[in-house]
Symmetry: C2
Subunit: 244 residues, 2 copies
DNA sequence: CGGAGGCTTGACGGCTGTCAAGGCTAGTGG
DNA sequence: CCACTAGCCTTGACAGCCGTCAAGCCTCCG
């Protein structure tokens, strides 16, 4: 292993305009002219090996990142060492929007498997979005979507019980995987029980117990990180019905 | 009472450039030229009486709003009627950013007292921000700040106990009031125990009990919605120390 | 093959939710 | 001006969900 080059940067091989994620990522809805411009902007890619951070809280903010392959978590920490996973990001999703506010990142982004991200220099993105209305609009939509997503997580954390939280989490995960062409039924979790628990405001034991309960009830098949959804409607019902 | 005009709209009397909130609101950091442009943009004001909504989930999104006077809450609801307060907004803070993502609002904004908001037509704001770099940057910072704030709420909801949540909430509130020139020691809550509870992921009884506990411990003086902070450091300690 | 990290499961306790009763306050109408 | 009422708040008793602690198992990888 070559430890002298911890961060591997390479010229981009796949342009946005021909990227198979373009319908999920920043380029959504852009015309071919805008896309050509975006290709110019997104010139580098960065590899992050499993366990490494893409950025840390406190790092100077310069770029946002689009996940090209792999899987990330973002987490915030309070001064006293409390830790909260704020999201899991998969291919086509953006990382680093938190950094715009103070020019420094306010959370850590950690790769949960070997990953590649497209580096989008923020100042140039702003410049380009002053020129291209559609790009501007798309970027604003993505930021707004993140806000809406966060509100959904607040709803989950503020008003759901453990089973409901885990069911909502699994449905969200499978839905996003499905949008990327994966099966909605079988999946491999990239994160530990503890990370799921942190995201859902639960302890890892509760996550584990709830998985077991779902299995007993025939909703899931659980084998460590390998899951099979047996009864999607049953999970959905858990999320929708408060109690009955 | 004239019920034929439920929404009162009037020409803006105070321009952004001379608004006493300009250091807290969208105009932060703009030069006088940008400010003049912003004055053109923000041409109307809207009154919302206590209990009325500024917008509702599902409403078509056209404008964002800056609170000029008064106090709002925003809340999301799930299909099954679950309800979650996602924030409280006071003078100088923006409302409606959630609507950008789908061109429809995804939460309700309710006035908790008679309020006025400045109406900022979003399409025109985007247009203007294509022209003025500082305005663009400022708007992006505000959206990003909302994301960072949401992450803080997730941390609170995901990892804090009732006392810690309420202490954090009170400190946040007093800090924002102080930034607006109010005393950091005495305040009047604009929201009910139930709304506080919803925001903090607690039941109203727990909020009430925790208030009483803080009072017994000499941290607060509580008389219904009238609060006096007696020991700010003590509250801060509650937030910082997990247990001891 | 051995160890470390991750996962499962049990026992138990405490925090917070639930249900209920009663008090307070502000706003309304007589 | 004052009584009334509705909404809000407080407090108690009790229960249950989930956290804590502990022990042991599994799996992956060196």
């Amino acid at each position: 292993m070559n430890v002298t080059v911890p961060i591997k940067i390479e010229p981009l091989k796949v342009a946005c305009s021909s990227c198979n994620l373009r319908e999920l990522c920043l380029p959504v809805g852009l015309n071919s002219n805008d896309l050509d411009q975006l290709d110019e902007l997104v010139a580098t890619r960065r590899h992050v090996v499993r366990g490494d951070t893409l950025f840390r809280s406190g790092d100077v903010f310069q770029s946002i990142y689009a996940v090209r392959t792999g899987f990330f978590k973002t987490c915030v920490s309070s001064e006293d060492g409390r830790d909260q996973v704020t999201g899991f990001q998969m291919a086509g999703e953006l990382l680093g929007l938190d950094g715009i506010s103070t020019d420094r990142h306010s959370c850590d982004a950690v790769a949960l498997e070997d990953s590649q991200v497209c580096v989008i220099p923020f100042e140039q993105l702003e410049e380009l979005s002053r020129e291209f209305t559609d790009l501007q609009r798309q970027f604003h939509k993505i930021m707004s979507r993140e806000i809406v997503r966060d509100h959904g997580v607040m709803l989950l954390l503020g008003s759901m019980r453990a089973e409901e939280r885990l069911a909502a989490f699994l449905l969200n995960l499978t839905q996003r995987l499905q949008a990327r062409g994966f099966s909605a039924a079988a999946l491999v979790l990239r994160m530990t029980r503890e990370e799921i628990g942190s995201y859902l405001g639960l302890k890892l034991e509760t996550v584990s117990r709830t998985f077991s309960k779902f299995q007993e009830e025939g909703l899931l098949e659980v084998k460590q990180r390998h899951l099979r959804i047996l009864d999607q409607a049953g999970l959905q019902k858990l999320v929708n019905n408060t109690n009955c």
